[in-house]
Symmetry: C2
Subunit: 321 residues, 2 copies
C-alpha cells in the first residue's frame, strides 16, 4: 500500500464510519468537506498546533498523542460553551510508518467516537512531526461564553484539580519521582486530559466569562482580567489539589504547580453572585467537581493571597521549585 492508501484506510474509513454524523454531507475524499450547521446556532472554531519536542515528548505513544491533540482542541470549544462536532487534521510526518499511523488513527478514532465528532478533512505532508487540528462546534445563538464578560464581584471558579498535569510531565522527564500509583495518576492527567465538554455546555447562561487553562492559572487568568477589565483575587488555600499531587510534592509545591503549572485543561470561569445557585445545580447534574478560588474586583492585575495576606512576590515565593 502507498502512504496515501494507508492514510485513507486509517482515517477515512475509521473516522467517517465511526462517527455517523448526519450533518456530514461529505467528509474526507473531495477538495473540501460539506457540512450542515444546525439552525439557530453559531459556529465555534479553534486551531491548535502540536510540535514534537515542544508540545510533546519525542517517544510519545501515537495513540496518546492523537488523543491529546484532539482533547486540547475540544477543551477550547468547551471554554466557549460549544458542543464539538467536526475536526480537520493536518499531519506532517517525517516518514511513512504504518505502525505509528495505525496507533495514531486508533487514538483519533477513539476520542472522535467518544465525543461523537467526525473527522471531515485533512492533509498529510512530509516533514518534521507536527499536528494541527481545527475543531468546529456549535453553540446556540448568542450563548457563547467569552473571556470579556467578567464583572467586579463575580466569583472565580475552576473545574477539577490543578497542577497534576505539570507534575505528570516532570515525572515523565525525570525531574520528579514518587510512588508508582501516584505517578500513574499524575502522568495520566498529563497525557490524557479530559476536555470539559459537558461542563462548558452547562455553563451557558451561568458563567459570565470562561477560558480553559493551558498555560497555567497565573498566566491564563490575566487574559480574563484584561479582556473584562477587572482584577482577580485568588486565595491560594482554596486551589483544588488532588491528594496524589499533595502526597507526591507536599502542599506548598503542590500549590506552586497549581498556580504556574500548565496543561491542566480545566475550565476557569466567573459566576455572578446571583447565579451561584444555578451553577451548583448545573454542574451538580453534570457531575463536575468545581471550586471557588477567589473573586473578581475592579482595577487590574492578578493578586494571590495566602491566609488572607497578599503574596507580594509570587515568583519569589515559588523560585525554590
Amino acid at each position: 500500500m502507498t502512504e496515501f492508501e494507508l492514510i485513507e484506510r486509517y482515517f477515512r474509513d475509521g473516522c467517517q464510519r465511526g462517527s455517523k454524523r448526519k450533518d456530514v454531507l461529505f467528509g474526507i475524499g473531495d477538495d473540501a468537506a460539506i457540512l450542515r450547521a444546525p439552525d439557530n446556532n453559531q459556529l465555534v472554531v479553534t486551531t491548535d498546533t502540536l510540535v514534537e519536542g515542544i508540545h510533546f515528548l519525542k517517544d510519545i505513544d501515537p495513540k496518546v498523542l492523537a488523543y491529546k491533540s484532539v482533547a486540547v482542541n475540544l477543551s477550547d470549544l468547551a471554554a466557549m460553551g460549544a458542543d464539538p462536532a467536526w475536526l480537520t487534521l493536518a499531519l506532517t510526518l517525517p516518514k511513512s510508518d504504518e505502525a505509528w499511523l495505525a496507533g495514531f488513527a486508533e487514538g483519533l478514532n477513539q476520542i472522535c467516537e467518544y465525543y461523537g465528532i467526525a473527522l471531515v478533512g485533512g492533509d498529510t505532508t512530509r516533514g518534521p512531526l507536527t499536528i494541527t487540528l481545527t475543531a468546529m462546534g456549535h453553540v446556540p445563538s448568542d450563548r457563547g461564553i467569552y473571556r470579556h464578560g467578567a464583572n467586579p464581584g463575580d466569583w472565580i471558579f475552576v473545574t477539577g484539580t490543578l497542577g497534576d498535569s505539570a507534575a505528570g510531565l516532570k515525572l515523565l522527564t525525570g525531574d520528579l519521582s514518587c510512588d508508582e500509583d501516584l505517578k500513574e495518576f499524575l502522568v495520566t492527567k498529563h497525557l490524557r486530559p479530559v476536555p470539559r465538554v459537558l461542563a462548558g455546555r452547562s455553563l451557558r447562561g451561568i458563567a459570565s466569562a470562561c477560558m480553559d487553562l493551558s498555560d497555567g492559572l497565573a498566566g491564563d487568568i490575566k487574559h480574563i482580567c484584561k479582556a473584562s477589565e477587572v482584577s482577580a483575587h485568588i486565595n491560594i488555600e482554596q486551589l483544588p489539589l488532588s491528594s496524589a499531587l499533595q502526597q507526591a510534592l507536599g502542599e506548598a509545591n503542590a500549590q506552586s504547580l497549581a498556580i504556574v503549572g500548565g496543561e491542566d485543561y480545566e475550565l476557569l470561569f466567573t459566576v455572578p453572585e446571583n447565579r451561584k445557585g444555578a451553577l451548583m445545580t448545573a454542574l451538580g447534574e453534570a457531575g463536575v467537581n468545581h471550586s471557588c478560588i477567589g473573586q473578581m474586583r475592579g482595577g487590574s492585575g492578578v493578586h494571590f493571597y495566602r491566609d488572607g495576606e497578599l503574596v507580594t512576590d509570587l515568583v519569589d515565593s515559588f523560585q525554590h521549585f
Copy 2:
C-alpha cells in the same frame, strides 16, 4: 514587543479590521472564534499544509508565501462551488523575525481583503517553518459540486492555461531558463496562482463534477474518474497552453507540463452536453477562459490522444523532459 504581541499586532489587527465581515461575532483573541453561518447554506471546509523545502522554496518572500498559502485553500473551496468566508492559520516558525512576520501578515491581509474573507483564529508555535490553513466557505444547500458526479458523455473542461506554474518552478530552481518577460509571466503563475473563486461559483448547477488541479492533470483527473466511475478521454492538442509556455519550451514540452506539471490551481470540471450553453453563458459573464479538453466515457482510466491516436505510453512519451 514580545512575539505574542507582534503576532497579535500583525494578524489580529490587520485581518480583523480589514475584512469587516458581520458574520464574525468574535474572531481572534478568545479560546475560539464564534461565527454565524448563513441560512439555507452548507459549510465547506478544507485544510492544507505547506512545509518549507517541500511545498515552497527556502528563500520565498513571506508576502508571496502568505498569498499562495491562502490561494491554495481558496482553490479547494472554489472546486466545491463555495464562496470563501473564514480562515484559520497555524503558523510554525523557527524563530521570531519581525520583518518576516510583517511581510507574511501583509500578504495575508491583502488576499483576505481582496476576497472579503476574515482570519478568525490561529496558533503560532516554535518549530520548522510550516503553515497550515483551514478555509471555510458556504454553498447554497445541496448545490456543492463533488468529484463523483461525472457521467459518460460529459465534456471535460479546464479553466485558464496549464503547465505555466510547473515551468515557473523550474525557472526558479534553475532547471530551465528563458527570456526575462516569459520568465516573469511563468514565475508569477507559480508564485501567485489565482484561485478560481468566481468560476467555481458560476459552475453551480452546471458542472456535474469539479476539482482543482494541484498535482497535475494526469494524476488529478484520475480522482474524478474513480469517484464517478467513468473513463477520461483527453485530446492533447486541445490542452490550453499559454503563448509564454510555448515560446519558452516549444509545443511538445509545453504539452508535457500541461499534463504532468502540478500547481496549476485551475478548475477541472465536467459538463453534460445539455448544459454546455449554460456554461458558456455563466463563464462568459464571469470572464473566465475555459477549454474543452475531452470527454468522459464508460469504463475506467485516463486516456490521452494525439491527433486522434491513443498515446499508449504517456510516461514514455514525456520521459525526455
